[in-house]
Amino acid sequence: MSAADARAERRTDPYADARDWGRVRFLHRLNPLAKIAGPLPAMIVLIFSHGIPVPSSFLLLAVALLVVGAHLGGRALLGLFVLLPVAMAVLTVSFALWTDASRVSDTELLFQVGDYRFHAGALAVGAATALRLAGILTLSLVAGLTTTGPDLVRALVQQLRVPYRLGYTALAAYRFVPRFGHELDVIRQAHRVRGMAHGRGPIAAARRHLGYVVPLLAGGIRHAERVSLAMDSRAFGAHATRTERHLVPFRARDWVFVGAFWAASAVILVVAAALGGA
C-alpha cells in the first residue's frame, strides 16, 4: 500500500485516533461536548437573526477559531475558503431573486426585466440569509472538524451519562455502513445481469429499488444478529458500567472555552444591537 493510499485511508477512516496537533491547535484538545455547548447559543441566535452584522461576526469568529485552533487538511481548507464563498454567493443571488421587491423598493434599483425589479436591498436580504446559513455551518464545524466519532460517544457516556450500551452499539452499527454500501453494489450488479434493469421511468425504478430491499435486509439482519452474538460473547452489558480506557474529561479549559464563547457571543450581540440601534 502506497503512502498516498494510506493517507486516503486515514482520511476516510472514521475510527482513526484523534491526533494531537499541539498547543496552538487547541480545539483538538477540548472535550467534544464543550465544542458543542460553546457555539450552541450562537447557532440558535443565528436561526432568528436579521441583518448582516450578527451573522458575519459569528462567521468570522468561527472561521478564525478553525484557522487558528484546528488542524485543517486540504479538503477542509478547500471547502472553507473556496466552496463556502462560492455557495454563499450563489445563495445570496438566489435568495435576492426571490425577495419581494415591494419590501425593498426604497433601495437603489439595479435592473428591471419587464415587471420584475431587482433592488440593491434584495441583495442585502439574500446576503443576510446566506450569512446565517454559513454561520451556522461553520459554528458546527468547530466541533465537526476536530472531533472523532468514538470521542463524542465517550463524552456522551462519561459526562452526559448516556447508557454505554446505546453509545457503543451505535458505534458498532457505524461499521455496517460501508459493508451495506458494498453489498448494495453487488445486488445491483446481480439484478442487472438477471434482467431486472428493463423499464424506464419512476415506476420501473421504484420496482427495481424495492427488489434490492429484500436481499439487503436479509443480509443486514443476519449480520446484525451475528455482531450481537459476538458482542454478547465478549461480556457486553455484563455490568452497569464498563472500564473506560480513554477518558474524555471535562476540564477547566473546557469550562473556559464554553464561558469565553458565550461571552464573545454576548458581546457580538450587544455591540450589534447598539450599532443597529444607533
Binding site: P150, A230, A235, A238, T243, R245
Partner: protein
C-alpha cells in the same frame, strides 16, 4: 493435569430451534477438561454450531431455541447465569471475521471484552498486549481492523477471546471464510496455543487437514444430531473412517487417500490422518521391498480424468436424488468437445483485458483462452483480481469493448437477454441474485425474458423446462417456497439452476464454496462436474485447491492482476506456480511430493493416486501382493 475439574459439562443436551420439529443436537454428553482440544464433527445440519453456541449460554439466552438437559460451565448451569458472566469462562470465535469487530482499532477491539468485565485499566492493557503478542498483531495495534487481511481479522478474534481470560475457547468454523494463507495463519496461532496447554479448545471445523494435528479428542454427531462416536481422535478416525465417510463427515485428505489405497488393494497397516503420516505410509510402502516403479509422466494431465468428475463418497448423503449415477462409478465419458478441443474455437477468449476501479488498476493485460468443455479454476490470493476477471467474462461489469469474446459474443455490447443465453454467472452469495417470490418463478424468470424474442417459448414450454430443472436440482418439493427461505445448499443449487436455465453453455461461478461446509461444497462440485461432463464450460474462482485438484481440467493462477500461470491441472499442480503465487499446494500434493519415491510426485488428485497405485502393473510385484 491428570485429574482436572471439567470446565464444561454437557449432560444429555437436546436443543430445538424455534419452529424446528426435531432437536439437533439430540442427547449430547460431553466434558471439556483444562488444556484439552476437542473436535466436533458431523454432517451439515447436525447441530455442531448450535452445540457450540450452547457452551457459552448463547443458547438458550440469545438464540431462539429450547435447551433440554444441562450445560454446566465451571459447575454452574448456563440457564442460571448470563452470557456476559459466562464469557469469563468460555470465549467464542465465530466463522465470519467481519461480524465480530465492533471498534475502530485493533487495540480497542482486544480491550473491548476486558473493559466490559470492568477490569482495571492496567490489567486491560496487560491482557491486550499479551493476547496481541500471542497472535502476532501487537505491532499493528493502532490500525483499523478493516485493514487486516481475513486471516489477520480472525487472529484478532482469537486475541479477543484470549483477552477475556477464559479457560475455554470455542471456535465455530474459524477458517471457513478464509483463503489458504489465512487458514495457515489461524492454525499457526492455534498450534502455539495448544502447545502451551493453558486453554481448552473446542473446535468445530471442516478443514481437517489443518486441524488434525492439534486435536486430542473427537465427538461425532450423525445427521440427526445424535452422538455416534467419542474418543481419542486417532482411534475414532482410524477405526471408523468408512462409517464416517458414509455419514457425510469430511475426512482429512490423507485419510481419504488411505481409504482409496486400501480399496485399490494396498494394505496400509494404519490409516494416515495427516499429510506427514501419509508421506510416511507411502515411504514405508516403498521400502517394504517394492521394485522401483516405472517413472510416470504427469498422469493427471494426460489421463482423461480432467473431464471426468470425481468426488468420493461424502457427497452421497446430500447429492440431489436426480443425479443418480455418481460420476465416480461411471467410466469417464469421452466428450466430443474434449477430443476436438484443440481444433474448435475456444469458448472464451480474452485479449489484453485491463480493468481499473476508482483509478486503481486491477487487471493489467490479461490474455486467456478457455477451450469448450474445459473446467477452469481461477486461483490466486485475495486481491489478485479473480472476481474482476470473472465479472468481465460474464459481462457483470462490462469489460472494455473488444477485449472479451464468449462464443462469438462481446459481453460489453450484448443485451441482458443474449448474455443470459450465452453465459451464466453465479454470485458468491446466492441471495444477491434472487429476484422473484417463489423458486419456480425464479427459474422461469430467465425463460420469460427470452420468450419476448422467441415465440416457441410459450407458457407450457417454460413450465416444462422449469419442472425439469426443479427435478434435476432436487427442488421439486420446494417450487412454491420463497427463495430466501431455502437452506444454504438449496439456495446454491437454485442459483446454479437460474444461471443455466436459459441454456448458457458457459457457466461462471465466483467462489461458489466460500463460507460453505464441506458437504455442501462437495455437492455443488458434483453438480458442476456433471454439467461439465455434458459439455458445459465451467469457470470457477476458488481458494479451495484440493477442489481444484479433484475437479478442474485447467488452472489459471493470477498474481497482482496478471496471469502467472495457465495450463492443465496436472501441469500447474506439478510445478511450483502455486507457491510462487503465494498459495500452497493442496494437502495431498504436499504429502505426495514429500515421498521418497518419485512415482507419487506427479499425482495431484485422489483419482491419480489410484492410477499411480496400479502403475507398477502386473510385471512389478507389489508389496504384500494383495492387489487384484
Amino acid at each position: 493435569m491428570t485429574e482436572p475439574t471439567p470446565l464444561i459439562e454437557v449432560e444429555d443436551a437436546r436443543i430445538r430451534h424455534l419452529g424446528s420439529p426435531a432437536a439437533t443436537p439430540d442427547g449430547v454428553t460431553l466434558t471439556v477438561s483444562p488444556g484439552e482440544v476437542v473436535l466436533v464433527l458431523g454432517p451439515s445440519g447436525c447441530g455442531k454450531s448450535t452445540l457450540a453456541l450452547a457452551l457459552n449460554g448463547l443458547v438458550p439466552h440469545a438464540v431462539a431455541a429450547t435447551l433440554e438437559g444441562e450445560v454446566r460451565v465451571a459447575g454452574v448451569p448456563t440457564t442460571e447465569t448470563t452470557v456476559a458472566a459466562l464469557s469469563a469462562h468460555v470465549a467464542m470465535v465465530f466463522q465470519d471475521p467481519d461480524a465480530q469487530i465492533v471498534t475502530g482499532t485493533v487495540l480497542d477491539e482486544v480491550c473491548f471484552g476486558p473493559e466490559n468485565l470492568q477490569l482495571p485499566v492496567d490489567e486491560v492493557l496487560a491482557r491486550a498486549e499479551r493476547a496481541l503478542r500471542q497472535v502476532g498483531l501487537w505491532e499493528r495495534r493502532a490500525e483499523n481492523p478493516d485493514r487486516l487481511s481475513g486471516g489477520g481479522r480472525q487472529r484478532l478474534a482469537i486475541a479477543c477471546a484470549l483477552a477475556l481470560g477464559s479457560g475455554v475457547i470455542v471456535l465455530d468454523e474459524p477458517t471457513a471464510n478464509l483463503d489458504p494463507r489465512g487458514i495457515d495463519e489461524v492454525y499457526a496461532v492455534l498450534s502455539a496455543l495448544v502447545r502451551e496447554r493453558d486453554h481448552a479448545i473446542v473446535l468445530v471445523e471442516h478443514d481437517l487437514d489443518a486441524a488434525m494435528g492439534l486435536v486430542d479428542r473427537v465427538l461425532v454427531l450423525d445427521r440427526h444430531g445424535r452422538p455416534i462416536a467419542e474418543g481419542p481422535a486417532g482411534t475414532v478416525l482410524r477405526s471408523r473412517a468408512q462409517e464416517l465417510l458414509e455419514l457425510g463427515v469430511w475426512l482429512p485428505t490423507a485419510t481419504l487417500a488411505g481409504l482409496r489405497m486400501r480399496a485399490a488393494g494396498i494394505p496400509l497397516p494404519e490409516l494416515p490422518l495427516t499429510p506427514a503420516e501419509l508421506t510416511a505410509a507411502l515411504d514405508a510402502l516403498d521400502t517394504a521391498g517394492a521394485a522401483p516403479p516405472s517413472s510416470p509422466t504427469s498422469r493427471s494431465s494426460t489421463s482423461p480424468s480432467p473431464t471426468s468428475p470425481s468426488r468420493p463418497a461424502p457427497t452421497s448423503g446430500t447429492t440431489p436424488p436426480s443425479r443418480s449415477p455418481t460420476p465416480s462409478d461411471a467410466p469417464p465419458p469421452t466428450l466430443p468437445e474434449a477430443s476436438a478441443r484443440d481444433g474448435a474455437a475456444p469458448a472464451v477468449r480474452v485479449r489484453g483485458l485491463r480493468v481499473a476501479k476508482s483509478r486503481t488498476s486491477i487487471l493489467h493485460g490479461i490474455d486467456l483462452e478457455v477451450g469448450r468443455g474445459d473446467f477452469l479454476a481461477v486461483v490466486g490470493t485475495n486481491g489478485a483480481g479473480k472476481t474482476t476477471l470473472l465479472q468481465a467474462i460474464a459481462g457483470v461489469v462490462p469489460p472494455p469493448k473488444g477485449t472479451v469474446d464468449v462464443l462469438g459474443l462481446d459481453p460489453s455490447r450484448a443485451d441482458v437477454r443474449t448474455l443470459a443465453r450465452t453465459v451464466g454467472f453465479v454470485f458468491q452469495n446466492p441471495e444477491h441474485q434472487f429476484i422473484r417470490a417463489t423458486v419456480a418463478e425464479e427459474l422461469a424468470h430467465g425463460l420469460e425474458l427470452q420468450s419476448a424474442a422467441d415465440s416457441s417459448l410459450n407458457a407450457p414450454a417454460i413450465a416444462d423446462r422449469v419442472n425439469r430443472m426443479l427435478d434435476r436440482f432436487g427442488l421439486a418439493g420446494l417450487r412454491d417456497a420463497h427463495p430466501f427461505l431455502l437452506s444454504g445448499g438449496q439456495k446454491r443449487r437454485l442459483s446454479v439452476g437460474t444461471a443455466l436455465i436459459a441454456g448458457a453453455p458457459v457457466l461462471v461461478l465466483d467462489e461458489p464454496t466460500f463460507g460453505q461446509d464441506r458437504a455442501r461444497a462437495a455437492e455443488l462440485l458434483g453438480i458442476l462436474s456433471a454439467l461439465n461432463a455434458e459439455g458445459t464450460t465451467v469457470i470457477v474462482a476458488t481458494h479451495d485447491l484440493q477442489l481444484v485438484a479433484d475437479h478442474a481440467s485447467h488452472v489459471l493462477v493470477l498474481t497482482g492482476g496478471a496471469v502467472a500461470a495457465h495450463g492443465t491441472t496436472g501441469a500447474i499442480l506439478g510445478s511450483d506456480a502455486l507457491e510462487s503465487a503465494g498459495l500452497r499446494a493442496p494437502a495431498l500434493v504436499r504429502a505426495l511430493r514429500a515421498t521418497a519415491d518419485p512415482r507419487w510426485h506427479g499425482v495431484t488428485g485422489l483419482d491419480g493416486l489410484e492410477a499411480a497405485v496400479r502403475m507398477p502393473g502386473p510385471a512389478h510385484p507389489e508389496p504384500g501382493g494383495a492387489r487384484g
